[in-house]
Amino acid sequence: MSLPTSPPVLRMAGISKRFGALLANDDITLELARGEVLALLGENGAGKSTLVNILFGHYVADAGHVEIDGEALPPGNPRAALAAGIGMVHQHFTLADNLSVLDNILIGTEPLWRWRQGRRAARARVEELSRRFGLAVQPHARVGALSVGERQRVEIIKALYRGARVLILDEPTAVLTPQEADSLFATLAQLIADGMSVIFISHKLDEVLRVSHRVAVLRGGRLVATRAADATSRAELAELMVGRAVQMPARTRSDARDAAEMLADLAQVSVPAAVGHVALHDVSLSLRSGEIVGIAGVAGNGQVTLAEVMSGMLAPASGTVTIAGHAMPADPQRWIAAGVARVPEDRHAQGAVGELAVWENAIAEQLGQPGFTRAGVIRRGASRRFARELVSRFDVRGGGIDAPTRTLSGGNMQKLILGRALSVAGEGRVPRVVVASQPTWGLDIGAVAYVHRQLLDAADAGAAVLLISEDLDELMALADRIAVMHRGRLTEARPAQAWTLATLGLAMAGSDAAPAGAAASGGTEVCDAA
């Protein structure tokens, strides 16, 4: 796409923001033209969200200011930003689950001191917007009952309803299927045609090149480059983001595994729907020693439930789960004892207790082991020695083993959890089964590479690895077989070579199109290299 030439709608001048010792934004100056799509690119923690949060008034910059149409915006005031025509879709949804879609849209759009709401007119407007931009929503549905894609649409309508002229989208596609993402881009195209300007944040370089006019790259809080989209390439952008080329490990496949021992087996497992999880229907899957089986699917289709069943957190209503031939009850302790390494999806909510010290989290799964406790008392010496080893072996960087775990960055916390999980089987032994749920969410490329290496090593050492991920590239790169989850049902696990991104996307959307055979890449791949 070409760069439109019109006066800037929005200008950020010299923005700096510090969180404690961390400089999240460092003197950033950026402009946005009318009808322009500006992509913000950068590693995790580069400061993208911080920048747009300052722009919207959630955060107050330590230095610098924001101008709309040449007028300075008062800092730290979302109301002023809204009034100036800025609409924002946050990285994490900001919707009230217990309220209706209409309530979520209507809030803040009317003067507070009125005896009644204009609900009827509002509803008509929402329906009109939803028709015009192809954003199907039901105004009276409770937000808590909506799928992720639907919530995304509600967020966008929220901004449109207020007549936003500048739309900020912070990683809007992270949780969408390729098809849903396409329909979002179609909507965007319409909006731009209407004169809207957009700031678009994404980690997906293809997307970025496709929809944006201009790309700004942040690294470590600094604006390192801006490029016209049609004058740059994936390779250049990747290099700019990371500052170096990153080697991604990939699977070398061998066929010997087909005969290997069956380590994990789910037979016709069903779980009824309940608060907090989607139902599973008749899920069957088996994993052999040394293989990696990937589960693809759009968030909210039952992967979480599957992960809970496979980590001993949830008992199926029917069907059996066996590990190495033994039927397993829903008791995490037993799963740990059976040598199952479990990496949960949400590291903050499930993976670690933020308030505990690093060393305490390191031994948390092994409190029953005589090595770490004696007569109910923790053997501090042994425990701390173990934690120190784990921290150095898995390269967990942070304030040391006595620091509260919450002070670790996301990537380092993930390494800690992974390290803990992989050492459940005891010193020098590999786990039998690894269950990893979204293990690389929110990690930067270096950390991703590290995690991938660990999973591959575990498989090579004979573990059966179940990899649940929404990142299709990750699945394609690591998995021997891939199955797709849709509405609580799991397709047959087919060899990775039998899938393409397109067929996977279709299957994730519920279409039953059989995957065409596609050549899989092998060996080592240099990310983004030509």
Partner: protein, 320 residues
């Protein structure tokens, strides 16, 4: 059966409404605070302060409604304090609440003792009169007169408040804002709502209601101020809101139900040995009745309650 005789008699319902009135005010007050995400354990003390200040104003010559206004103003002030502590400073809501209760209670007693250093019996005022004029209203009078006519206008106000607050919460932009900050403050802020202001405002309004509930005791149910006047009524309100699943209509119902148990308890107790089939029970068992039934009711509704998602979670802007 005697039970039936009791609950079908008009005087019983007269008593129920009278016992319920301070609970209705208090429960609606707690409900407002909690809908905005703030637990207000200050209620017990705020009710004391309301009872005292309202009464004091009237004692010094203010009209009765002036006393109510003064109580409400004092409630607003303590609400501001609690809001500042829990919303602006994001302190633990449990402790701030207990602190406010201690402060409001002891300040009231202190002020009372300074004002009335050496009285040998509690000074009194002329309280609200029953709404006997209701008897004269055609049609309505003959239906409502016997029960409502025996109440004061504060009770009528309490009864009307429930639908008004329901309307406010579910039908006005302000109510939506209150519910939103109690469900997801970050989302509210993203839509331009001043989370702190709305929360503090709701806590202040709720506290004003609590204070008026306290004032009912000194200006209507009774005519003097006593130490220990509130006697745990505030805590009951906190329980009633959970029972009501944070809905104004059910809050009204809950308060009436609790009051009915209380009134029934008195009458059963007075029935003494005459209650057929039962040996004369110790009066303490009757007094327990409302509390035990509250717990039972709580257990019955627990599963279905959808509490405000952000309740007791302080919101600090720019923190994640």
């Amino acid at each position: 059966m005697e039970l039936l005789d009791i609950i079908t008699a008009a005087p019983f319902w007269v008593a129920v409404l009278r016992v319920a009135t301070p609970l209705i005010f208090g429960t609606l007050g707690v409900l407002l605070c909690e809908r905005a995400g703030v637990l207000n354990l200050g209620i017990e003390g705020i009710m004391v302060a309301g009872a005292f200040s309202g009464w004091l104003a009237v004692y010094h010559g203010a009209p009765l409604w002036g006393g109510v206004a003064v109580a409400a103003a004092i409630g607003l002030a303590f609400g501001l304090l609690h809001g500042w502590l829990t919303v602006t400073l994001a302190l633990s809501q449990h402790v701030a609440g207990l602190g406010v209760t201690m402060l409001a209670t002891s300040l009231s007693y202190y002020a009372y003792r300074i004002g009335f250093a050496s009285v040998s019996s509690p000074p009194t005022i002329t309280p609200f009169a029953p709404m006997r004029w209701l008897d004269g209203v055609p049609v309505l009078g003959s239906i409502l007169g016997p029960v409502l006519g025996a109440q004061t206008s504060l009770t009528l106000l309490a009864l009307l408040l429930a639908p008004v607050i329901a309307w406010l919460l579910y039908r006005t932009p302000l109510g939506l804002a209150v519910r939103m900050v109690g469900e997801n403050p970050a989302a509210a802020e993203g839509q331009g709502i001043r989370v702190g202001a709305v929360r503090i405002g709701a806590v202040m309004a709720g506290s004003a209601l609590m204070a008026v509930g306290g004032a009912f005791l000194t200006l209507s149910a009774f005519n003097a101020f006593f130490f220990n006047m509130i006697n745990g009524r505030g805590w009951i309100c906190v329980a009633l809101v959970v029972f009501a699943s944070w809905r104004p209509g059910r809050a009204l119902l809950g308060a009436l139900l609790f009051a009915a148990f209380d009134a029934l308890q008195l009458r059963l107790q007075q029935g003494g040995a005459s209650l057929p089939g039962l040996p004369p029970l110790p009066y303490q068992l009757y007094l327990m009745l409302p509390y035990v039934l509250s717990i039972v009711a709580l257990i019955l509704v627990a599963r279905r309650a959808t509490y405000p998602q952000a309740l007791m979670k302080p919101y600090r802007r720019g923190e994640r």
